[in-house]
């Protein structure tokens, strides 16, 4: 299980985790207020804002939120070099992960930031590339905020509802929530004794 007491604040997010965080205003604003910073690659920006797709009202709303964050300077996108993609591990896994996920791992490694992804496959490769402590997920972010009393039990339900309203979901949120509850109870007990 992950360490809910620790979360790297500087993150390179992939498309899926970016959408998940933006889908819940309470989660994104709380994370922002405690100094969590998100950035990503220009390829992810293309996937989020420019890649042609069918018309989804949910996607339109998320795009709007992303545009707002961009204008406010809360999220930035950076380019990576072709040489960065020639790394052996990256090449070996190019068929397993999407171009966006690969670019995120490459940028995170280059800038020594954490990768934020909700995809199990991408997490696996990122752990090999960066080490487990620099691989994080949206559920981990919530668990860390909960552990530090920045969020409560009702916030979890709000996040689930927010995500659902925009056609998204986080399968392991309950599991992380339980773990954060357990750790918080233990920390409280330790403080009392």
């Amino acid at each position: 299980m992950i360490d809910v007491s620790h979360f790297e604040k500087l993150n390179v997010a992939d498309t899926c985790s970016l959408w998940n965080i933006l889908a819940s205003r309470v989660l994104s604003s709380t994370a922002e207020s405690v100094g969590v910073q998100l950035c990503s690659t220009t390829f992810v920006r293309y996937e989020c804002l420019h890649k042609p797709s069918r018309h989804w009202p949910e996607r339109l709303e998320l795009r709007k939120r992303l545009q707002a964050k961009l204008s406010a300077g809360r999220i930035s996108f950076h380019a990576i070099d072709i040489e960065d993609l020639q790394d052996f591990e990256v090449l070996k896994n190019r068929k397993k992960l999407s171009a966006g996920e690969l670019s995120v791992i490459v940028l995170a490694r280059k800038t020594r930031q954490a990768v934020l992804t909700d995809d199990v496959g991408a997490q696996k490769l990122a752990r090999i590339e960066l080490g487990a402590s620099l691989v994080q997920s949206t559920a981990h972010l919530f668990a860390w905020l909960y552990f530090n009393s920045q969020m409560g039990d009702s916030d979890k339900d709000q996040i689930v509802a927010d995500l659902l309203a925009l056609g998204r979901s986080l399968k392991n949120l309950d599991e992380y929530h339980t773990e954060a509850q357990r750790c918080r109870a233990m920390a409280n007990q330790a403080n009392r004794t």
Binding site: D14, T15, C16, W19, N20, E47, K51, S53, R54, W56, E58, R59, K95, K96, L97, S98, A99, G100, E101, D118, D119, V120, G121, A122, G167, R168, S169, L170, K171
Partner: protein, 113 residues
């Protein structure tokens, strides 16, 4: 013509089969061979016996060149953890919103996200 469409064969093939079983005469064979099943009456085997909405969605995938077999393969690779959700979406030429839609269409439980 109805039977040719039902068995998914051409009228010629149906005529030959019927003749072999001595069900119809030579003249009837010639007559039958001249008939053609119109395109709109042909039943796509991939879309047969499906609820209308599902059939429409699957048809739109087929129009993009994505057959049931290929979509199944991509979704299996995803659910078995061989490829990531993002990669599966790339292989199906869709974004992750539509990936969920397709997974639902193919009765695949979402284990990621």
């Amino acid at each position: 013509m109805k039977w040719a469409s039902q068995f998914k064969v051409s009228t010629t093939a149906l005529a030959i089969a019927l003749k072999e079983f001595r069900i119809i005469s030579d003249e009837a064979v010639n007559e039958l061979r001249q008939a053609r099943v119109p395109a709109h009456q042909k039943i796509d085997p991939e879309l047969a016996n499906l609820p209308e909405q599902v059939a429409t969605r699957k048809e739109s995938l087929l129009q993009r060149g994505l057959t049931n077999f290929y979509v199944d393969l991509c979704l299996e690779a995803w659910t078995r953890g061989i490829v990531s959700a993002g990669r599966a979406a790339e292989m199906l030429l869709v974004d992750d919103f539509e990936l969920r839609d397709i997974a639902e269409l193919f009765d695949v439980r979402l284990s990621v996200h």
